[in-house]
């Protein structure tokens, strides 16, 4: 047999007491201090891994880390990253221009995960509202910083195995180039 809960669960008295209890609860809340952190007056320190404004970092030697491999733009779910890759003197690949439209960006961090050279990184700096939509379009010079970000020691070109002027076989864990003219077994 089904019990009609609406009608009977301790009668009117209990119901009224329940009501009164809830009124009491809200009333006690009224006299507690608000938990709100008033934002512009107080800025909560954000964890280093918070995902906001995107930067392009440099390696230890001060070179641009970005090799314009298009992985970040390829993985970007909102297609807010665009760039043009090009070749520097010596054969190093770099971004001739690099653009992020922050008006589209959803700060998902996929670009950071995709980046094989740790060049693109998200920072906790989230305050960049502007009046004009075009002001949200950040170019390479706006994005490029002069530090290494979260993992300052990594340098893609130390492991890449491509020759960018320093010669083959000079990177970490590489043998000197094979002598192709040798006839020795």
């Amino acid at each position: 047999m089904k019990v009609d809960k609406d009608k009977d669960e301790g009668g009117i008295i209990n119901g009224l007491l329940g009501l009164a209890a809830s009124y009491r609860v809200t009333l006690t809340q009224l006299f507690r201090k608000p938990l709100t952190e008033s934002y512009p007056e107080y800025k909560r320190p954000l964890p280093a891994r918070s995902r906001a404004r995107i930067i392009l970092t440099r390696d230890k030697a001060g070179g641009e880390r970005c090799v314009a491999c298009y992985l970040c733009s390829g993985v970007c779910p909102v297609s807010c990253i665009s760039m043009q890759s090009a070749e520097r003197e010596g054969g190093r690949r770099y971004a001739a221009w690099f653009r992020i439209n922050f008006a589209r960006c959803i700060y998902c961090g996929l670009c950071e995960e995709a980046c094989p050279t740790l060049a693109i990184q998200l920072t906790p700096d989230f305050e960049h509202s502007c009046r004009h939509p075009l002001d949200f379009v950040a170019e390479k010079e706006d994005l490029l910083v002069d530090h290494g970000g979260k993992d300052g020691d990594y340098d893609f070109y130390h492991y890449a195995g491509v020759d960018c002027g320093e010669g083959k076989g000079t990177h970490e864990a590489e043998l000197p180039p094979v002598d192709i003219k040798s006839n020795l077994p």
Binding site: S85, A86, F98, K168, A173, L175, V178, P185
Partner: protein, 843 residues
């Protein structure tokens, strides 16, 4: 027909099919690196290992090396096979560098795919990686040997399939190296295919190096426009520039490969000098404004001087749609019928080809590969249409005898017999060869008409040596089962084309199912040939212009200055016009001279249909919207930001759309702006009904007319048996692989490969003239002097002076005439190629 089971799925395949192909038919892609269907199997990479569970072979075997047999039971997912393949990948990755982000192959790399699908993600081996020096392989291919996985595909293609020897494999063990003996450009005109077939990034596309990822390209199926073969390509555009072209497999046309001219010839579409602005009397004007003004002026001229004072010049690179529109427009406006060829010889040759190419005779490139005797007349395959040479090589690899009858010092990547005959001797030599063959084989099956035809053919050529060679070749032809005649139209006249058709028919009625293969002077020359019926050729038009009979000329995607011999005459004639209207996408001399200029759209922007040399209509899809490439708009720095349409993104209307607009302005019946071009076709156009039903046949549409029997065999014309008078030279203007073709000559890397232009002369002629090899010669042409280095060779026919088209094509030298009209060579009088006398007599 073996019947086997792969992964519990049953399939029956033709005998001789490998297991890897059988699996592919089922849609099971067995991993592979070295195997490529056209190259065959070598079993080098060990990647295609599968488990044979039952049948004639048992255990773990390479699926590319085992032919399918009855009762086989194959598992591609057997744990042992999977573990084996995983092991292979891990070994390959021990030395593969960590450079995918800076490798252009990244994103469409077979090794990348197999590594990821094989589950390999961590290198367990901690030792150092092998490195190799890289080589400079020329302007087309970038070499990065560290990435090599030793699959041998490149060498097998380069040496075995294409027949060039300068790239090979050297060294042993861990020093194994794929490359040239020393740095230098690859000699093969098919070297770009290395990029496509290399399963990783050892060979990458150099002109598009570091420009874009494959996934960012706007890609579409396209057609190569750099010769008449109509090879299929996939073009990729990025930021409004076409940056890469790859071959697209089409077993009816080009198979799996394309030549470098086709792969790298697309630079004209991205040219900084490409005219993008419509001009009205030299001043920039809006497109519609200029087109309306053109219509107004045309009306005025028609009213003042009659409709026939207006003439139209199309081209062999017009899309078929454009050509149809041109014909429709000139027909309904009662203008003169459209002309499509500047060169009279080309126009007549094409007319002859279109009139004679019959579906019973026509061969495609795949048919040539299957032939056992190839007779090439007036063709220099590597220079005229490189993919033809590749097809001929496949026939040669299968044992075909190959004979080339040509005045030029033809070089081919396989063994062949070069029969050097002067240009004037070609028809006679051809006739002699075929007559010998038919006579040897016996004339039992021949009708009376054919016997009469045979009798009328000449039996001898004056040159004894040539006569002997022709007799030998005739014997080979008589012995062959599947012969084919390849006939060029670039240097030889229409007589040769007609004769080749007649002889092919004769061979067929004799006993051998002979095939015929023509080369034509442009990607859509066949369409032009179909539509130019009844109209005359450009030289006569020029005469009318000079006389004042023609007051307005509408030039659509053509540059008469590129091919017409007498530049001065052309210049002054065009200057007399009241209205020269040019519609083009090339920075041509005609475009600069135009009163009204409308910028056009390339095939990559507008798409279009083209009929190749075998009468196959193919559709090239538009690749991108058009507009100025972003790099040119931005000048290399970041592109401008704007909400409004980005600067330079305005697309140019295609020639078809422009002409339709013009027709509407002229109040000529055509219909609405979205009218199907096929609805404007003349009724008797072959394939019209099919085109109306399926406007863009994805697989191509064979348009060959079925000719009636009576038309087929024609009495031979009076064949000339010898060249010009002794002491005179015939000037031949020839195509070269790179740098001389109208569109691809704008590609910088190809121009680098083309090298300096050379004039070729036979040793005997050189001795008579007293000139030596390597000497700089000065030719006086139309009042201007052209310097060319001389190369003396004895491999060519005497009595000819061979000059490439492209000697005047340096961008700064575009003013120079493209053709030698009269060559003054230290006392030797030059006589020009057959179309020139006509041009001169008409003037």
């Amino acid at each position: 027909m073996p019947y086997l089971i792969i992964d519990n799925r049953h399939i029956q395949v033709p005998r001789g099919t490998t297991v890897i192909d059988a699996a592919e038919r089922l849609g099971i892609m067995i991993p592979r690196f070295c195997y490529l269907k056209v190259l065959g199997a070598v079993g080098a990479c060990r990647m295609c290992a599968v488990m044979f569970e039952a049948g004639p072979v048992k255990g773990l075997q390479m699926s590319c090396m085992v032919q399918a047999a009855d009762g086989m039971r194959v598992s591609t997912t057997h744990p042992e096979a999977v573990a084996f393949r995983r092991q292979i990948i891990e070994w390959l990755m021990i030395n593969h560098p960590h450079d995918c982000p800076v490798c252009d192959e990244g994103g469409h790399c077979l090794l990348q795919d197999e590594t990821i699908s094989g589950g390999h993600s961590r290198r367990r081996y901690t030792g150092a990686k092998r490195t190799y020096p890289d080589q400079d392989l020329g302007p087309l291919v970038q070499h990065e040997m560290n990435r090599c996985i030793q699959c041998y595909r490149c060498v097998r293609f380069y040496q075995e399939y294409a027949g060039y020897r300068d790239l090979g494999v050297m060294g042993i063990a861990s020093r194994i190296y794929y490359g040239r003996f020393s740095d230098g450009a690859l000699e093969s005109p098919f070297s770009g295919n290395l990029i496509d077939i290399c399963p990783t990034g050892v060979y990458t596309d150099r002109p598009s190096r570091f420009l874009a990822r494959r996934w960012d390209l706007q890609r579409a199926d396209s057609i190569c426009l750099h010769c008449s073969l109509g090879c299929n390509t996939v073009a990729g555009a990025h930021y409004r520039a076409v940056i890469r072209q790859e071959s697209r497999e089409n077993v009816r046309v080009n198979g799996s490969f394309i030549c470098d001219r086709g792969r790298y010839g697309h630079a004209y579409a991205n040219l900084a000098e490409r005219p993008r602005q419509s001009r009205l009397d030299g001043e920039p004007a809006g497109w519609r404004e200029a087109a309306r003004e053109a219509a107004a002026r045309l009306k005025r001229i028609a009213a003042a001087a009659g409709h026939s004072a207006i003439a139209v010049l199309g081209s062999a690179r017009n899309s078929l749609e454009t050509q149809i529109m041109l014909r429709y427009l000139s027909h309904h406006a009662q203008w003169r019928p459209p002309r499509f060829f500047v060169n009279g010889s080309e126009a007549r040759s094409t007319a002859a080809v279109v009139a004679r190419l019959d579906s019973r005779l026509a061969a495609g490139l795949p048919d040539l590969e299957e032939a056992d005797f190839l007779l090439a007349v007036g063709v220099d395959p590597v220079n005229d249409a490189p993919m033809l040479a590749l097809a001929m090589r496949q026939a040669a690899r299968k044992g075909a005898k190959i004979v080339v009858l040509d005045p030029r010092p033809v070089e081919l990547p396989f063994a062949f017999d070069l029969l050097s005959a002067g240009l004037g001797d070609l028809p006679a030599a051809l006739a002699v060869l075929v007559k010998t063959a038919v006579s040897q084989a016996g004339t039992d099956g021949c009708e009376a008409q054919e016997k009469a035809f045979l009798a009328a053919l000449p039996g001898r050529v004056p040159d004894e040596k040539l006569q002997g060679q022709l007799g030998q070749a005739g014997g080979w032809l008589a012995a062959s089962r599947r012969p084919a005649i390849i006939c060029g139209s670039a240097i030889a006249g229409p007589e040769l084309a007609g004769l080749a058709a007649d002889l092919a028919l004769l061979l067929q009625t004799g006993k051998t199912p002979s095939r015929l293969f023509y080369l034509l002077p442009g990607p859509n020359a066949f369409g032009a040939g179909l539509l130019q019926r009844g109209s005359r050729y450009f030289p006569s038009l020029l005469q009318d212009i000079e006389k004042g009979g023609v007051r307005a000329l509408l030039v659509v995607e053509n540059d008469p200055f590129f091919r017409y011999p007498d530049q001065d005459r052309l210049h002054s004639a065009l200057g007399k016009l009241e209205l020269l209207m040019v519609l083009d996408y090339l920075p041509s001399r005609a475009a600069r001279a135009a009163h009204i200029f409308l910028p056009g759209a390339t095939v990559f922007e507008a798409g279009g249909s083209f009929i190749n040399n075998c009468g196959l209509l193919q559709y090239a899809a538009p690749v991108h919207e058009g507009g100025i490439p972003l790099a040119q708009v931005s000048g290399g720095s970041h592109p401008p930001r704007a909400h409004a349409p980005a600067p330079g993104s305005e697309k140019c209307p295609s020639a078809y759309e422009a002409l339709l607009f013009l027709a509407n302005e002229l109040a000529i019946r055509p219909p609405t702006m979205d009218a199907s071009p096929w609805s404007l076709l003349p009724e008797d156009f072959p394939g019209q009904a099919e085109l109306l039903a399926h406007p863009y046949p994805t697989d191509g549409l064979q348009l060959l007319p079925r000719l009636s029997e009576a038309e087929s065999l024609q009495t031979p014309v009076n064949l000339p048996t010898s060249g010009p008078a002794a002491g005179a030279l015939t000037v031949l203007r020839v195509e070269q692989t790179f740098g001389s073709e109208e569109l691809s000559c704008y590609a910088e890397p190809l121009r680098q490969l083309a090298g300096p232009p050379l004039a070729l002369l036979h040793g005997a002629d050189a001795d008579r003239a007293g000139v030596r090899d390597g000497e700089q010669l000065c030719f006086e042409i139309g009042g201007e002097k052209v310097e060319l280095a001389l190369q003396v060779t004895n491999r060519m026919a005497p009595g000819q002076l061979i000059i490439p088209h492209h000697y005047a094509l340096g961008r700064a030298a575009c003013r120079l005439p493209a053709v030698v009209a009269q060559a003054e060579l230290r006392g030797l009088t030059g006589q020009d190629s057959p179309d020139l006398p006509q041009a001169i007599t008409e003037s």
